[in-house]
Symmetry: C2
Subunit: 351 residues, 2 copies
């Protein structure tokens, strides 16, 4: 197989973790006989510095030519006081919207060797294996905004079509997993949630093999912590998804190793670690590349249909953790930690 990938290293530790993930990608290519052609482009703070634009047209053009995008991370204190339009995260919001990447997939699965770092009791977190499917291009993020000196507003708005496609996506995901779908809304208060709930009710006829429940966002915010094992696939809107997916990411103690995918209907997608750009440790070889490496696995699975290759990366990462190799963020008291590159070498040896 031959695929074109746009690589957007971004800011802070972005370039380091992306370099690691690219090495793993090439190792997989070699082993399974695939060719991955890489093109590099800028986004976020780096793009603001160079083009005064967090997502320059050049970057969009390069992405359009490719089959998938690999992103590091964006942001840093240098750009924190910029006006809204010149903030690194604007690049993120714009790339999602430009490429219609409406489905954000955020898996959370416990690595037994990392559970010690979880704030939750081992017995609460150890069997967690859930996937949050967040609507990513609609809702209050992109609705009309108003602002005067004395008032501000944001419109939360969803069309039936926007809801249908993300709900379909989540049902299909549930089907591939444990067959359970929890749809999250605030139907006792919001009109958008009532439409959301109605669409899920209509759609479920088409997926009789999936067990569906509706749950309120406040209640899910509790249950994700008291009983996270309860969940298989969770589907929700953009704003609730932002909050709940970050909340869920802390369950297993593996916050720094969680990947994500932002996809649309045709397999094109953007893959990135959920962690930030960690400017404080940038350039020191301390960053944990696991989340970005696992994002490459998601790319292989969802954009290229290469399931075996994806599973192989996941297995290798797991094995390296089980063998007791960690970067500084996860190293236990007293144990030696590996640098970003050393840890990546371990994964490549495994493959």
């Amino acid at each position: 197989m031959e695929k074109k990938i746009t690589v957007l290293p971004g800011d802070g530790i972005g370039p380091e973790v992306v370099a690691s993930a690219v090495r793993v990608l090439q190792a997989i290519g070699k082993r399974y006989n695939h060719k991955f052609h890489l093109s590099y482009a800028v986004i976020g703070g780096t793009a603001i510095d160079e083009f005064n634009n967090p997502l320059p047209d050049e970057t969009i053009a390069i992405c359009k030519e490719s089959d998938a995008i690999l992103l590091g991370a964006v942001g840093g204190p240098k750009w924190d006081n910029n006006p809204p339009e010149l903030r690194p995260e604007k690049g993120l919001l714009k790339i999602r919207k430009t490429f219609d990447l409406f489905a954000n997939l955020r898996p959370v699965k416990a690595f037994p060797s990392l559970l010690g770092a979880s704030p939750l009791k081992r017995e609460v977190a150890e069997n967690v294996d859930l996937m949050i499917v967040r609507e990513l291009t609609g809702g209050i993020y992109f609705g009309e905004k108003h602002r005067t000196d004395n008032e501000a507003s944001d419109l939360n708005i969803y069309t039936r079509k926007e809801i249908e496609r993300i709900v379909d996506n989540a049902f299909e995901m549930a089907r591939l997993r444990k067959g359970r779908l929890c749809s999250v809304d605030k139907a006792n208060v919001l009109e958008t949630s009532r439409l959301w709930r109605q669409v899920v009710e209509e759609k479920k006829e088409q997926y009789p093999d999936v067990k569906v429940e509706h749950n309120l966002v406040d209640s899910v915010a509790m249950k994700l912590i008291t009983n996270p094992e309860h969940f298989d696939v969770v589907v929700t809107d953009n704003m609730f998804g932002d909050i709940l997916s970050d909340e869920a990411s802390v369950i297993t103690g593996s916050l720094g190793v969680l990947p994500s995918a932002s996809i649309r209907g045709d397999h094109f997608g953007l893959y990135e670690p959920i962690h930030g750009s960690a400017p404080d440790i940038a350039g020191q070889g301390k960053a944990n590349p696991a989340a970005t490496i696992l994002s490459v696995a998601m790319m292989l699975r969802y954009s290229f249909g290469l399931k075996e290759e994806a599973t192989e990366i996941e297995r290798a990462v797991s094995a390296v953790f089980n063998d007791g190799y960690f970067t500084a963020d996860l190293a236990k008291d007293g144990s030696r930690s590996l640098s970003t590159n050393e840890w990546t070498d371990r994964v490549i040896i495994e493959i």
Copy 2:
């Protein structure tokens, strides 16, 4: 002191826990020589059954004559399929709006004897003592709504005045506590959040003794679990507050014993446990009245300025837990549990 209190028992276990709390209130009145005059009225499902209205005018009139309101809980499966206007929780939303109860106070404090029930590790949860101040009468809850067959929308809208009063409230709360305020918003996406952040920045000049930080809602959703001790007072809008206060309620394992207050500028307020109406155990003497009893303590403190009396109730509840007395929901394996009334007796003996 003489005070008039409207008692709204509500649905499910509401009447039982309210009866317990009223007994504790009267015991405090006796010991400290206060007279509390009670008037009872209906709200929620019970009010729908009787008046076809979750908040009848009669109830509003009685509340208007009083100095504070004590509420049990509303809701139950019986009314779950009612149209939106005839749902029990509409009574809650309407009473908040009618009486302009714009500040919802939700304290979360660890009881050492309950930590075993927490999903979090003991060392993460044991020193937690935070207070969420949620804006309760504005934002997306009450903004304009639209709905067609193919589209739905909810307007999130805040005036500067609405933000100023809740922010003032939170600053004053921080001053009475540990002097730290975390303001939560989504300023990288929402206009309302940018106005919110600006108001907090302006206000902080007036409270130089309070240490202020701004934090994004997704980041707070994580930190509440990874490092809940970090927080003292947390102030946020209606929707974020709904999610974060419920999330925070599970930290200490004492979900069933958490009180709340919904107040306005002049000390009038509504006090209620944060738990629901638990229809499955209603009428069986199994309900835990602690949250409602602690809500009475909040009433004494915030509406009547009776600090000593409030502290005495809190001390008594704590002592009863420390002595190993629990209702069924909290009883440890093998230990005998007390009924709602027996447990209340223990608290009254302590006072």
